[in-house]
């Protein structure tokens, strides 16, 4: 499966949750598949989805699901120790690991070679790290939500992108409606 097929499958789980979505094609895909006010789309700033989501999870009690990518986590690796040492049990970091920089032309990342993000998360001190194959994403995500424990979920899948339109919504509108969803 490629990322957009996974997102389509888990859209019913994501719909009722606060979601922070990674820059580029992941946000475009989620926006096209099931736009919700409770989705925070990153329009720029590669690498910070996991950090934004952690700040949000620490600041309020609702569950937060971060949809991140292997390339983006690699660009902000310092996030893993920060996550491990600031436990928020309403935080789920789901890394769609397709071993490539999808938004820039599917250039390979190191996770498609020797590097294991699940291993790095564990060694950073994250206590609840789960690695699954694409077809098992839905049940694994639901289990993480039901478990009520901070979870790093690494989803191994194929490289590739669906052709979706660019998000043209104003960033302040994205932020404002998201904050209203947080408060609701």
């Amino acid at each position: 499966m490629i990322r957009s097929e996974i997102l389509r499958e888990i859209a019913p789980i994501l719909r009722d949750q606060l979601v922070v979505c990674n820059i580029g094609i992941p946000s475009q895909e989620l926006h096209a598949i099931d736009d919700q006010p409770s989705n925070f789309y990153m329009l720029g700033t590669m690498g910070l989805a996991s950090s934004i989501g952690l700040g949000l999870a620490l600041a309020q009690p609702k569950p937060v699901i971060v949809i991140d990518g292997d390339g983006s986590v690699l660009t902000n690796l310092g996030t893993l120790p920060t996550i491990a040492n600031n436990v928020a049990n309403n935080y789920i970091l789901m890394i769609i690991d397709n071993g490539s920089y999808g938004s820039t032309g599917d250039q390979p990342t190191y996770t498609g070679k020797k590097t294991s993000l699940a291993g790095m998360a564990r060694e950073a001190g994250c206590e609840n790290v789960v690695e699954v194959q694409d077809v098992d994403t839905g049940p694994a995500l639901q289990a993480a939500l039901d478990g009520g424990q901070m979870t790093v979920l690494v989803v191994k899948c194929d490289s590739g992108n669906a052709k979706m339109p660019v998000i043209t919504m104003d960033p302040v509108v994205i932020r404002d409606r998201f904050m209203k969803a947080v408060e609701a």
Binding site: V20, F40, G47, L48, G55, A57, L58, V172, E183
Partner: protein, 168 residues
């Protein structure tokens, strides 16, 4: 006056409850003071752009954030300031150790100091420079201003403000 305590008191009085830090020795005292306050969740960052991401999330979660860092971090965070904090219109007080100014013993620190104000000006970031201890009296108003206008605001605090580097 205890500057560390005064800065922390002003943060608390302005409802700031989420503070991320990347240390500088000038900032060691204020970071210790923040650690002692129950009103503030202190989350050290590994890099300042990561810290700004944490602050953005905390703000959207209903808390008032702040970041404490060194001016070298302006070089690290330009993209994050432009495409996250400014683009989504979020408030972010930045209490910045202004290394490389008068009384600086480390020559390399001057190399970023000479660019610091120019970069902040280029980014249209409101910038205040604390050079004397009494300048700290403005912090309360600067924090109010930051959350009034929903912008990142820089407070540069130089070695003279902190009382120099002792014997170094």
């Amino acid at each position: 006056m205890n500057i560390d305590k005064k800065i922390t008191d002003d943060l608390v009085a302005n409802g700031i409850s989420f503070v991320t830090t990347v240390p500088c020795k000038q900032l060691a005292g204020v970071i210790d003071e923040i650690d002692r306050r129950n009103e503030i969740y202190h989350i050290p960052s590994n890099k300042e752009d990561e810290g700004m991401g944490l602050c953005a999330g905390a703000f959207m979660g209903g808390q008032r954030p702040a970041i404490i860092m060194q001016n070298t971090a302006i070089g690290v965070t330009i993209n994050t300031l432009a495409t996250l904090i400014q683009y989504y219109r979020m408030p972010l007080p930045m209490i910045i150790s202004y290394r490389g100014e008068l009384r600086e013993p480390v020559a390399c620190q001057v190399e970023m100091a000479v660019h610091t104000k120019a970069l902040l000006a280029q980014m249209a970031i409101p910038t205040y420079h604390f050079h004397k201890q009494a300048d700290v009296e403005e912090l309360d108003n600067i924090l109010k201003y930051t959350f009034m206008c929903n912008k990142p605001v820089a407070v540069l605090t130089d070695a003279n403000f902190w009382g120099g580097y002792g014997d170094q």
